[in-house]
């Protein structure tokens, strides 16, 4: 009995032991499988994360390709029926289905380049002042913040102000000169544009001028050069490609600017005869006539304008950015 008992107990005990060990191994396996599952989950989450990053980067790329394709596809009707005549055609007459973009090309080029010429002295002066004469101090901080604010004010506000304040001023000036006093026109748009694009070339120029190595400047000073001579023969030559890039970015901005120009340019499809006559730019034509375009060719001709605008501004911007990148890497 005793033996049996013990044997039973032993067996029992054994059983217990085996059960225990079974339980043990089970729980261990559970932990292991949980761990395995956990790391699988983490790997999956990691892969999901990496993949979604790639997808987002692709979305941006697809977006740009989509924009290009849409513009090209929608302007095919106009390209097919008008061809190259479209660019040099001098009349824009939607009623008779005659579309020539020349007046708008001329208007865009005139406004942008006049604005550029007006703005360059100012933006270069700001760049030199902030980059060379006084990089720190409250006065330069004030100037820097003002420049940032000029870039921040919405273009429709510039347009409104121009329409109410600047147009009468220009009209008075035109009366004095004895030209037809329109007030609105290419010159007024250029003035507004000039104010709007100053910040772009100015802030970029400042960065570039600050990057001139001080050893170069000190070398020139030690040879007895004055401050003006250092700026003229060290700083400006060293930064000329960067300053050029700033001008390009300003130009890109001026070409594409819509609202302020639309409000003060006068919106006529005639070829401008002087810089004081009213006209139209590519962007302002689109803004004015796009919702009125009632047949395919008209709409398509407007989109072709948009396509040209797109290509020109994008090329200018990318060249500008390339120059900056090259400059900062050197």
């Amino acid at each position: 009995m005793n033996n049996e008992l013990t044997a039973d107990q032993l067996i029992d005990g054994n059983n217990h032991a085996t059960k225990d060990s079974l339980v043990h191994t089970k729980s261990e396996q559970g932990v292991k499988s949980k761990k395995m599952k956990g790391s699988y989950g983490q790997i999956r989450a990691e892969n999901f994360f990496k993949r979604s990053l790639i997808v987002v980067a692709l979305i941006v790329l697809v977006l740009v390709i989509g924009i290009m394709l849409t513009l090209v596809l929608e302007s095919i009707p106009s390209m097919r029926s008008l061809g190259l005549k479209y660019i040099w055609g001098k009349t824009w007459d939607p009623v008779n289905d005659v579309y020539g973009a020349y007046p708008f090309l001329l208007g865009t080029l005139l406004t942008s380049f006049i604005a550029l010429i007006i703005s360059i002295p100012f933006s270069f002066a700001i760049a030199i002042y902030l980059g060379e004469y006084q990089p720190q101090g409250w006065l330069s901080n004030f100037l820097k913040n003002t420049i940032d604010l000029i870039a921040a004010v919405p273009s429709v506000i510039y347009g409104f102000w121009g329409l109410i304040v600047l147009v009468p001023l220009v009209r008075d000036m035109e009366m004095k000169f004895g030209i037809l006093p329109y007030g609105i026109g290419i010159f007024t748009s250029s003035l507004i544009l000039a104010i709007m694009i100053i910040p772009y070339a100015a802030s970029l120029g400042r960065e570039m001028i600050r990057m001139v190595p001080s050893t170069l400047k000190e070398g020139a000073y030690s040879l007895g050069a004055t401050r003006y001579e250092v700026i003229r023969s060290v700083v400006l030559p060293y930064t000329k490609s960067g300053l050029f890039a700033g001008i390009l970015l300003s130009l890109g901005r001026a070409l594409g600017e819509t609202m302020a120009v639309t409000m003060v340019i006068g919106n006529t499809s005639m070829i401008p005869t002087s810089i004081f006559s009213p006209g139209n730019t590519m962007a302002s034509v689109i803004a004015n006539e796009f919702t009125e375009a009632d047949h395919t060719l008209y709409l398509s001709a407007l989109i072709e304008l948009g396509l040209m605008l797109f290509v020109v501004t994008v090329v200018i911007n990318i060249i500008g950015k390339r120059i900056i990148k090259k400059f900062t890497n050197e």
Partner: protein, 286 residues
């Protein structure tokens, strides 16, 4: 004798340098005049028009006095918030991708795409979104306006995120990885929180940029004289209202436009100042 000539020469050169400096300083500070003039003029004209009625009523018909711009305020708010919801995740994730993968074919093309996006004139984006979302559905809608604004926000968001995250020391990331943290946690719980101020200032900057945009909304959100909260219908926005009323021949409408311009200007300036403070407080380089 010769030393005298030398002295004169040096004096001449110093004088020239000083004159040039004076001219440059003068020209540089002239630029602040138009801005101060514009802001001053808008405050002067606008401040008398803004009152409770102005921000709580819809516009009155021509000839009647009074009326407000609440439709534009509601519309602008809704469109910009929707645009932010669309653009912020995409922009930040794309920025993370570009800062994590500095070389490689996809990052090269993606970076180029962001550069291209930044250069596209806003009116062209308006045209494209018109063909994507307005023409197929046959009606102008505020959601299409939001998409157009979101496209304009993207480049700023991507750039600011990328530039901020690039500055974060590599050792932080290595430390996280060495502790066995998975990659996505390292990015989301170490790298992004470290750069959060730069990312946030990118967000405010992009909102400040698009809140005053009119051109992409001309053919998308279009405008609406009544309050509308349906995203599938046309909606008025502040800049579009200013454009419409400013180019109208009625003086009452000009007054409304001045008031609206003041509100828009204050919003934009406030957003810019917030950005400035964030960047200065955390010393972010944008």
């Amino acid at each position: 004798m010769s030393s005298n000539i030398e002295k004169v020469k040096i004096k001449y050169r110093i004088g020239k340098s000083k004159t040039v400096q004076a001219i440059i300083v003068f020209i540089a500070f002239i630029t602040t005049v138009p801005l101060i003039f514009i802001i001053g003029y808008i405050f002067k004209e606008g401040i008398t028009k803004v009152n409770w009625n102005f921000i709580s009523k819809i516009p009155a018909p021509v000839g009647e006095s009074g009326g407000g711009i609440v439709n534009a305020l509601v519309g602008s708010l809704m469109i910009v918030i929707t645009a932010s919801i669309i653009a912020i995740p995409i922009g930040i994730f794309c920025g993370i991708y570009l800062s994590e993968n500095r070389t490689g074919r996809l990052s090269y093309w993606s970076r180029l795409a962001v550069d291209v996006l930044q250069g596209i004139p806003s009116i062209v984006i308006g045209i494209v979104v018109y063909f994507w979302l307005v023409k197929p559905f046959g009606t102008f809608s505020s959601i299409s306006g939001s998409v157009a604004l979101a496209i304009m926000m993207l480049p700023i968001l991507v750039r600011s995120t990328e530039e901020t995250l690039k500055l974060i020391p590599f050792s932080l990331k290595e430390a996280g990885l060495a502790l066995g943290m998975p990659y996505h946690k390292v990015i989301l719980k170490i790298i992004v929180p470290c750069g959060i101020s730069g990312i946030l200032s990118g967000v405010t900057l992009s909102v400040a940029r698009v809140i005053g945009e009119t051109a992409p909304l001309l053919f998308t959100a279009f405008g609406n004289p009544y309050i509308n909260t349906n995203m599938a219908k046309p909606m008025e926005t502040l800049p579009h209202l200013i454009f419409n009323y400013a180019t109208s021949p009625y003086d009452e409408w000009h007054d409304i436009a001045w008031g609206a311009a003041l509100i828009l200007l204050i919003t934009v300036l406030a957003l810019n100042i917030i950005t400035k403070i964030t960047t200065r407080k955390w010393k972010v380089q944008l």
